[in-house]
C-alpha cells in the first residue's frame, strides 16, 4: 500500500493523528511526517502523582459537610437552615469552579499543545475508561482521574493503566464499587448483627464493565458467573472518605469487606486471597489476547475509520502481543501502518474534536467555561458521557441534521470573533494543507467577508472530517 505524497502525509499527520493544524504545524510536520508523530511518544513519569490532589479533597469535604449540615437543619425545619444556606452556596460555587477549570484547562491544552497526537491518544484512553459526571462530588473527581490515573500511563504498560484506572476513587464511585461488600465478609456479619439500616451486598457494576468495556470485550465469551466471581474478588477495594483526617480520598483495601475464598474467573482459579486477588485477575485480563484484539480494533476505529481495515487491526494486535501491551509500541505501530495514511478522510469529527480543531486553526485559546457550552447542545458535554461506553465513534451518530445545524450556528458566531484581520484563504491553507479541495478554496476566495470565509472553512467537508 503506497503512502500519499509528503505534502498530503504532513496534512494527515496533523489533522487525522493530531487534533487539527495550528498555523505552521503542517509545514513543520512536512520534513518527516511519521517522525513528527513518533517524537511525541513519551515514557511514563517515575513517580505516580497523588490520585486526588489535596486542594480537591478539601473542597469536596467542605462542600459535603456544609451540604449535610444544611440538609439536616432543613429536615428538622430549623431556622438554622436559612443561615447555613449562603455558606453552602459559596462552597458549591467553589467546587463548580474547580470542575469547570478542569474542563477549560483540558480544552486549552488541546487547543495549544505541540504534541497533539499525544493528546488525542490520551483522550482516546480517557474515553476508553469513561467516568461520567453525576453529583458534584463525583464530577469533581473526573479531572483528577484523567490527570493522575490515565495520562501518566498512556504510553506505558496497559496493565498499569488498567490497574490505575480501575482503582481510582473516581471509577470506584462511578461504578458503585465503594458500596460493594462481600456477603460472606466479616463486615457483612457485623452489620447483620447490628441490624443496620444500611443494605449490605455485592455490586457487580465495576466487574461487568471491566470485562465488557475495558479489557476482553463482550465477545470474549465470559459468563454471568465470571462477572459475579470477579465482583466478589473486587470487594474490599474502596477509598477513604473525603473528610477522612488523613489520606482523604485515597484508595485502600478494606479487608473486612472482602469476600473470603478462592475465585475462578474465565477458567482461571485464583487461590491468592485479599488485595492481591483482584490485582492478579486484572493483570491476567490485561494480558489476554482477547483484550489485545478488542482494544486494537477500537484504536483503529478511532484513528482511521469506523469500519477499520482488518490489516491495520492485525498490525496493532501484533504490536500489542509482541510488547505485552506496551502502549508506546502500539502507538508506534499505528503511526507506521500504511493503512492509517489513506488519502480519503474517513472520520467525521466529534463535536469536541471540531471545537478543538477550530481553535487550533485560528490560534485561539478557550479561557471561559461559556466557550465550551455549545458542546452540551452538540451532545458531547465534557465529562458527561451518558454511559460507561463513552462517546460514540461513528459518523452516523454525529453527522445528523441537528448536529450540522448546531455546528453551523456555532460557526456563525465564532468566526467574527476568531478571524481577526486575517485572510481566510491563508487560514485555510494553514489548517488543511494539501487536504484543502479546490472547491472549498474557491468558495473561501469568493466569500464576501473574512467572517464568511472562515465560517466556510470550518464548515467545509474536509475540515469536518479528518
Amino acid at each position: 500500500m503506497a503512502l500519499p505524497d509528503r505534502d498530503l502525509q504532513a496534512a494527515i499527520a496533523v489533522t487525522r493523528f493530531g487534533l487539527g493544524a495550528r498555523p505552521g504545524e503542517i509545514a513543520e510536520a512536512r520534513r518527516d511526517p511519521q517522525g513528527f508523530l513518533k517524537a511525541q511518544l513519551r515514557t511514563r513519569p517515575a513517580k505516580p502523582p497523588r490520585a486526588m490532589p489535596l486542594d480537591r479533597t478539601e473542597a469536596i469535604r467542605a462542600f459535603s459537610e456544609a451540604q449535610s449540615a444544611f440538609v439536616q437543619a432543613n429536615r428538622r425545619q430549623s431556622p438554622e437552615a436559612q443561615a447555613l444556606h449562603p455558606e453552602l452556596s459559596t462552597l458549591r460555587k467553589a467546587l463548580r469552579d474547580k470542575i469547570q477549570s478542569d474542563v477549560v484547562q483540558r480544552a486549552a491544552h488541546g487547543a495549544t499543545t505541540e504534541s497533539a497526537f499525544a493528546e488525542r491518544w490520551a483522550l482516546f484512553w480517557a474515553n476508553h475508561f469513561t467516568v461520567g459526571a453525576g453529583n458534584f462530588v463525583r464530577t469533581a473527581t473526573i479531572g483528577p482521574f484523567e490527570t493522575t490515573a490515565v495520562r501518566p500511563h498512556v504510553f506505558g504498560a496497559f496493565t498499569d493503566l488498567l490497574v490505575a484506572a480501575e482503582t481510582h476513587p473516581a471509577m470506584l464511585l462511578y461504578l458503585d464499587q465503594h458500596r460493594s461488600i462481600g456477603p460472606g465478609s466479616a463486615l457483612a456479619a457485623q452489620m447483620a448483627g447490628r441490624k443496620s439500616s444500611r443494605a449490605v451486598g455485592l455490586n457487580e457494576n465495576l466487574a461487568r464493565e471491566i470485562l465488557e468495556l475495558h479489557t476482553v470485550g463482550v465477545e470474549a465469551g465470559y459468563t454471568q458467573a465470571d462477572v459475579t466471581e470477579f465482583a466478589r474478588a473486587l470487594t474490599g477495594i474502596t477509598f477513604r472518605g473525603f473528610s477522612a483526617p488523613e489520606r482523604a480520598g485515597e484508595t485502600y483495601f478494606r479487608t473486612i469487606a472482602h469476600e473470603p475464598g478462592p475465585r475462578t474467573v474465565m477458567g482461571v482459579r485464583y487461590e491468592v486471597q485479599g488485595e492481591g486477588q483482584s490485582t492478579a485477575i486484572l493483570r491476567d485480563l490485561a494480558a489476554r489476547p482477547e483484550t489485545a484484539r478488542f482494544i486494537s480494533r477500537k484504536i483503529a476505529r478511532h484513528f482511521v475509520a469506523d469500519d477499520p481495515p482488518p490489516a491495520l487491526v492485525a498490525r496493532l494486535e501484533e504490536a500489542w502481543l509482541a510488547s505485552d501491551g506496551a502502549l508506546d509500541q502500539v502507538a508506534a505501530a499505528l503511526i507506521s501502518a500504511p493503512e492509517a495514511w489513506a488519502a480519503e478522510p474517513k472520520k467525521f469529527k466529534t463535536p469536541y474534536e471540531f471545537l478543538i480543531s477550530s481553535w487550533r486553526a485560528t490560534d485561539r485559546i478557550p479561557k471561559m467555561p461559556q466557550e465550551l457550552a455549545i458542546l452540551t447542545a452538540l451532545g458531547q458535554r465534557p465529562f458527561y458521557a451518558s454511559s460507561p461506553e463513552g462517546w460514540p465513534e461513528e459518523e452516523a451518530a454525529w453527522a445528523t441534521p441537528d448536529g450540522i445545524i448546531k455546528r453551523l450556528v456555532w460557526t456563525e458566531s465564532f468566526a467574527p470573533k476568531a478571524v481577526g484581520g486575517r485572510d481566510p484563504s491563508d487560514l485555510a491553507a494553514q489548517a488543511l494543507g494539501a487536504r484543502l479541495s479546490p472547491t472549498t478554496a474557491k468558495a473561501i476566495a469568493r466569500s464576501e467577508s473574512r467572517d464568511e470565509g472562515l465560517a466556510l472553512l470550518l464548515m467545509s467537508p474536509e475540515f469536518q472530517r479528518r
Partner: protein
C-alpha cells in the same frame, strides 16, 4: 441581524428549501403542503428508556404474592396507582394511569428481545437493530424503507446524536432545542453548495434546515396566546423552557415534538431516548424522577397532538429489565424481562399484553430475573403491521431478519 423565522416567513422558507432539495436531487416530502395531506396519517412514537428500566417498578405486580418479599423496601404495594388486582402503575405515571382508565394504554409486563444479554450497550444495539451485531441500521429505518414505496413517511429523532434504531438507508431528520438559524440566510446556502458532492453532509444540512423552520413554528406556539413574530430573545427564552428534568419541561418538550407530527408536518415516526434508568444504587428516588419525566413527556405529546392522537401509537421500551430481588445497595442489577407501555388514541382497549410468568422462585430466569413471556419484536411487528401498514413479509425478513417465528401480536389497534 439574525432573526428567528416568523410563521409567514417560515412558509416561504419551506418552499425555498424544497427548491434547494430539488436542486440537489433529494426527494424531500412536501412539508409545507396543505394540511389535508396529513389527515388521518398514522403516527408512531418509540420511546427508548436507556439503562434498563425496572419494569417491576413501572408496573408493579402488586397482586403477585412474591413481589414484596423480593423487593422489600423497593416494593410499591401501598403507593402504586391501582390498575386491577394484579398490577399497579408507578405513582409518577399519572398520565399513563389516566390513559389506561380511558382504554388508551396497555401494559406488557414481561417482554424482552430474544437474546439474553446483560450488557446495556450490546442489548441497546440489539433492541435497535433487531439483527446481528454486524448490522448498522435500525428496524425503524428499515420499516421506513418498506413504507417509502407507498407513502411519504418521514422519521425524526430527538437529540443531537442519532439513535441506531433510526439509522439506515432512508435519510431521517433530527432535532433538539437550540438557537435559531435563519434557513434562507446566505451562509447556509453557501455551505449547502460546498456539500453538493457529499452524500452525508448535504442531505443532513438540507434536512436540518427544513426541520429548523418547523421547530421555530412549534416553539412560537409556546408563547402566550396571540404572540406572533417573536423577537430572537423571546424565542431563545421559550427554547430554554424545554430544557431541564422537570415535569414542566418534559410536558413542553412533548408538545413541541408533537408539533413535528401534527397537521402539515410530515413526520410519522419519531424516536425519543430517555437516559438515566440504570439504578444499581438508591433506586427509588432516581427512578421516580425519570418516570415523572417520561409521564409528563407522554402527556405533552398527547395534548400537543390534539386530534392526531387518535391516529397515534406510542411504545415505551427498554433494553432489558432488572433483577427480581433488591441488591445490597438499595438498587437492582441487570436482569431480563421488563415492562413495555403501549399508548395512543389508536389503541383498542384491553388488558395486559402477554402472560405474567409470576415471581415464583422456580419461574425466575436463572433464579434471578423476571422471565420473558413475549418477544418484543412481536410487539414491534404488530404495531408496524396493523398501525403503520408495513408489509407482513418484509417484517419477517428485512425489518426483523429471521423473525418469522416471532409472530406479530395482532389486534392492538
Amino acid at each position: 441581524m439574525t432573526r428567528s423565522v416568523p410563521l409567514a416567513a417560515a412558509l416561504l422558507s419551506r418552499r425555498r428549501m424544497l427548491a434547494l432539495g430539488a436542486g440537489l436531487g433529494l426527494a424531500l416530502p412536501l412539508v409545507g403542503a396543505p394540511a389535508l395531506a396529513a389527515a388521518g396519517r398514522k403516527k408512531f412514537v418509540l420511546v427508548i428508556l436507556r439503562g434498563a428500566a425496572d419494569g417491576l417498578s413501572m408496573s408493579p405486580p402488586t397482586g403477585d404474592p412474591n413481589y414484596e418479599a423480593l423487593r422489600r423496601s423497593l416494593a410499591l404495594t401501598d403507593t402504586a396507582l391501582r390498575v386491577d388486582g394484579d398490577f399497579g402503575l408507578h405513582p409518577e405515571l399519572k398520565t399513563v394511569h389516566q390513559l389506561l382508565g380511558a382504554g388508551q394504554a396497555r401494559i406488557a409486563p414481561a417482554v424482552a428481545m430474544p437474546e439474553r444479554i446483560r450488557s446495556h450497550f450490546e442489548a441497546q444495539d440489539r433492541l435497535e437493530s433487531a439483527a446481528g451485531d454486524d448490522v448498522s441500521s435500525g428496524w425503524l429505518n428499515r420499516a421506513l424503507v418498506n413504507l417509502s414505496g407507498k407513502t411519504e413517511a418521514e422519521g425524526l429523532s430527538v437529540g443531537p446524536v442519532a439513535p441506531l434504531v433510526l439509522r439506515g438507508d432512508v435519510a431521517t431528520s433530527s432535532w433538539s432545542p437550540g438557537r435559531a438559524v435563519e434557513a434562507e440566510a446566505r451562509l447556509p446556502m453557501l455551505i449547502q453548495d460546498l456539500y453538493g458532492d457529499d452524500p452525508v453532509l448535504g442531505a443532513a444540512l438540507a434536512r436540518g434546515l427544513k426541520t429548523e423552520v418547523l421547530a421555530q413554528a412549534n416553539i412560537a406556539r409556546l408563547a402566550p396566546e396571540g404572540a406572533e413574530d417573536l423577537s430572537p430573545a423571546e424565542t431563545a427564552r421559550l427554547t430554554r423552557t424545554l430544557l431541564g428534568d422537570s415535569r414542566e419541561a418534559a410536558d413542553r418538550m412533548g408538545g413541541t415534538i408533537a408539533g413535528f407530527m401534527r397537521e402539515g408536518a410530515a413526520t410519522d415516526l419519531v424516536a425519543i431516548s430517555l437516559e438515566g434508568f440504570d439504578t444499581h444504587a438508591n433506586q427509588a428516588g432516581a427512578l421516580a424522577r425519570r418516570l415523572a419525566y417520561l409521564d409528563a413527556l407522554l402527556g405533552g405529546l398527547q395534548s400537543g397532538l390534539g386530534a392526531a392522537w387518535r391516529d397515534t401509537v406510542v411504545l415505551v421500551v427498554t433494553e432489558f429489565g432488572r433483577t427480581a430481588r433488591i441488591n445490597g445497595t438499595l438498587g437492582t442489577d441487570h436482569g431480563t424481562a421488563s415492562t413495555a407501555l403501549l399508548l395512543g388514541g389508536a389503541l383498542k382497549p384491553g388488558g395486559i399484553i402477554g402472560d405474567w410468568p409470576t415471581l415464583k422462585e422456580a419461574r425466575l430466569f436463572e433464579n434471578r430475573d423476571l422471565a420473558p413471556t413475549a418477544d418484543l419484536r412481536s410487539l414491534f411487528k404488530g404495531v408496524l403491521a396493523e398501525h403503520m401498514g408495513v408489509d407482513r413479509r418484509a417484517l419477517d425478513t428485512t425489518v426483523f431478519p429471521d423473525s418469522a417465528a416471532a409472530a406479530p401480536i395482532l389486534g392492538l389497534v
